[in-house]
Each structure stands twice: as C-alpha cells, then as structure tokens.
Symmetry: C2
Subunit: 234 residues, 2 copies
C-alpha cells in the first residue's frame, strides 16, 4: 500500500490517496481546535492516541456487525480506510445532557436523558455546523430517505455497543459525533471515534476524559486521552 | 357563554375562562412583538384581522377533517375555543426558505424547498424557542411517540390544505407555525393561524403580506393583514 497525494488537510487529520483508489490513508495530527476553530492548540501525542483509540473502537463495532471504513492500522499515526464519499452530516448521539445541548435546552450538565437523543448537523464550517433534522436533509438533498433511516438506526446501535463496552472499562459514554460515507452502494461509518469526538466521563468520579479538558482549560488533557487508550485496549 | 377570569395574557392574545370549563375565550390584541420580544409595537386592527383570518382558516381545516380548538367567533376580537392543555412545542412547516431557516442554512430567501420541512421548537421564552427534534421531545417528555407522529402528519396535512386553498386566492404559503394541545384524550390544533404566524407572499409580485413587514420595517403592515383577510374570506 503506497500513500500518494494528500487530498485534504482538516483540523485534526490529513487524508491521502493510495495506489488503490478504493483506499485512503488517514493521518492523525496533534492539532486541536474548538468552538468552530476559534480556539487552537496542540495536544501532545493526540494524533497517535486518537488513531489507536479509533482503531480499537472501529474493531469492536465491526465485531458487532457495524460496517465501518476501518481497514487496519498502518503506523502510530496512520490508519488505512476505505475511500468513502462523506455525507455532509454530523450525527450526534447523546445519553446525558452536556455541552451545547444542555445550554440550548436549559438542562443541567449531567442530566441522564430518558432516551438517547440523536441530532443531525449540517457539516459546514462557514455556517458553524447548524443543527438540522431529517426533513432538512431531504429538502436539501443531503441524503436519501433510506440512507437517513439506516444512519439513524446504525448510530443508535453504535451507541448501545459502545456504551456497553465502555462502561465495563469504567467509562461513561456521555455523547459522541459520527460521520458516514457512501462506498460501493453502501453506507459506512467513517472518520474517527476518539476523545476529540466523544464525551467520556470516568464512571466513578465523573471526571472528564475528553476534549472538554482542552475546551474548558481543565489541564491534564494528554493524560486523559492516554487514560482512555489504556482503558479501551482489549 | 359567559367570559370570566383572564387566565393568561400573552404577547398577542388574552385567554379567559368561561362558565363552561371546557371552553376558553381568546381575545386578539393589536400588540406586535418580534425577535423574541426585543421589538415591540402595535398594528392597528391586527387583533380583529387575525381573529377573523384565523376563524376562516380553522373552518377550512375543519371541513377538511382537521380537528381544531375553534368553536365560533364571538365578536370582532374574540373567538370561543376548546380549553386545551397546550403542548410546549411549536411546529413550523416550511415550503420556501425564508427567515431564520434561510439564514441558518445559508439558503437564499425564496428558494423553493424540494419537500416541505417540518421543525419542532421547544416553546420557552427564556431559551428563545430553541429548535429540537422528535428525540428531544421524547427525552424531555414533552409529548408521547404517537402524539409526535400525529402532530407531524397533521401539520403536513394542514400545509397541503392551506397551500392549495391560499394559492387560489393568489397567496403563496411560505411557512407557518402551529401549536397543538390535549383535549379529552385527543390532540387539537390550537392557537391562531394568521399573518403573525405564517409567511404569506403575493403569488404574482412575491410581496410580503405578513408580519415580516413589521419585523423588517417595510411599512404597509395593517394594509397587508387587511389584504389577507379580504382574500381568504369565502
Ligand atoms: N473514509 C473516509 N474517506 C474519505 N474521507 C474521510 C473518511 N473518513 C473521514 N473523512 C473525512 O476526512 C476529513 C478528516 O479530517 P478532519 O481533520 O477531521 O477534518 P475536519 O476539519 O473537516 O473535521 C474529514 O473531512 C472527514 O469527513
Ligand atoms: N385552545 C387553547 N387553550 C388553551 N390555551 C391556548 C389555546 N390556544 C392557544 N392557547 C395559548 O394561549 C396563549 C395565547 O396567547 P399569545 O399571545 O399567543 O401567547 P404567547 O405570547 O405565549 O405566544 C398561548 O400561550 C397559546 O399557547
Ligand atoms: Mg473532523
Ligand atoms: Mg403566541
């Protein structure tokens, strides 16, 4: 597998073509941003930690029947993935009120939701990833009706699988963001699953073990990411 | 029917009990507010015009099988309605991108949507009526699953009925907001349907014939409301 031209550099990763046009290499960076790019910094070793955490979680999901873009780890910071056409949607699943949702709806951070909440956001840096719903997705032609249904069901299953796996490791899955892409007529779970894209709380102390430590200047950011990797590893 | 104690004074209407505890009187005021109460004013005769416009539109909906709270007109500014328990939800249906949706999603005002878009907002003045979806409604216990389904279906039918009726009167139904309430184990369409709660455009000129004239200081506000009444009347 030969990594060729870089085709995209995002806030947290670089994406490269390979000599197989069905495969991309994703390289995880240490760069950290928050609040739609307004806050910037670096988290030492984040690239490596997120690469490895994502690999573990994608493998667990695959074992449980979720189709993902993950092929294999290539190096400390690189993974080989299927080259999908990313849908311009972020899917957020929440078990506990936190962050923007708690604020918008006047809920106390930490409130256990009666049922998981799924939200769609329109992936657009200029617009600040506004929340939308399935009607907007259809009206704006971002995905088809059966794709939306599949993505909702898959996201809720991902939630159940990860919640159950993580609680055994002493981690509460508060919420997380997923991205999906089209590949050979199928929808695959893509992107990453890491402390950058999930809220993880320690099950005993409720200590934050995720990017909120960076967002809110809580310190111990790298240590939290490292703790997540050491706990999720099989 | 005797009007007794006022039980609620809102931004646009007063609600009174009657000697029948299943019935309320809604009295329409000339007061106008916009941007969650930040802009305030009066629109001459608005109360009377909205009362009459709402009555006509509720009657058309009833004829088409939609169950509403409307009982009858009592006077120029008053209508008799069934005393429902309002759900803390606003349902918005949109046929054309305008207002907050156009802005949030970077769409040009006037863009015809491929399909109607339905949005739920959580009715809360303090929070500024934030947009939510059916998952939030369930997680926050604002309505039951079958109620949500009924409300979505009913709102989309209301859209079809009104769109078809209004276009014959030279009015394009751009978008509108509905409220629903519980009454004797049923869900009834409640509140009002007026230029305060709908966007109406002239079908030929695309001139705005609704509260956007007040919001955007376009002048001719009362005239627009009066024009709507004269066109919708059967
Ligand atoms: N399997 C894949 N195929 C193609 N693109 C992908 C795949 N997985 C993730 N991506 C995209 O690659 C980019 C990853 O870089 P990232 O730094 O996360 O970008 P961003 O700043 O846009 O969030 C994202 O745009 C993501 O949607
Ligand atoms: N049939 C009904 N029974 C009880 N309450 C109703 C009914 N129809 C509308 N309402 C409520 O009465 C109030 C009408 O006053 P309004 O000025 O629109 O209030 P607001 O400023 O809260 O929008 C609203 O709170 C509305 O939800
Ligand atoms: Mg990203
Ligand atoms: Mg009102």
């Amino acid at each position: 597998m030969k990594k060729t031209a870089m085709i995209y550099e995002g806030k947290a990763k670089k994406v490269y073509r390979t000599d197989d046009d069905k495969l991309f290499v994703m390289e995880f960076k240490d760069d950290a941003t928050a609040f739609n790019g307004q806050k910037r910094g670096t988290i030492r070793d984040k690239g490596e930690l997120n690469n490895k955490i994502s690999a573990v979680l994608f493998e667990i999901l695959e074992k449980n029947g979720i189709k993902t873009h993950f092929v294999k780890l290539l190096s400390d910071r690189e993974m080989l993935v299927k080259a999908v056409k990313i849908l311009p949607l972020e899917v957020i699943v929440r078990n506990i009120a936190a962050g923007s949702m708690a604020k918008r709806l006047g809920l106390e951070e930490g409130l256990e939701l009666k049922r998981p909440v799924l939200e769609f956001c329109y992936k657009s840096d200029e617009l600040g990833d506004p929340m939308i719903n399935a009607y907007h997705v259809l009206a704006m032609d971002l995905a088809a009706e059966d794709e939306i249904r599949f993505i909702e069901e898959t996201s809720l299953r991902v939630n159940e699988i990860l919640k159950e796996y993580l609680i055994k490791k002493g981690i509460v899955l508060v919420d997380f963001k997923l991205e999906f892409g089209r590949f050979d007529g199928e929808i695959l779970l893509a992107d990453e699953i890491s402390p950058d894209t999930c809220r993880f709380w320690d099950a005993k102390t409720r200590e934050k073990l995720d990017k909120d430590r960076f967002r809110r200047d809580l310190g111990g950011v790298e240590e939290a990411y490292r703790e997540i990797l050491s706990r999720v590893k099989v």
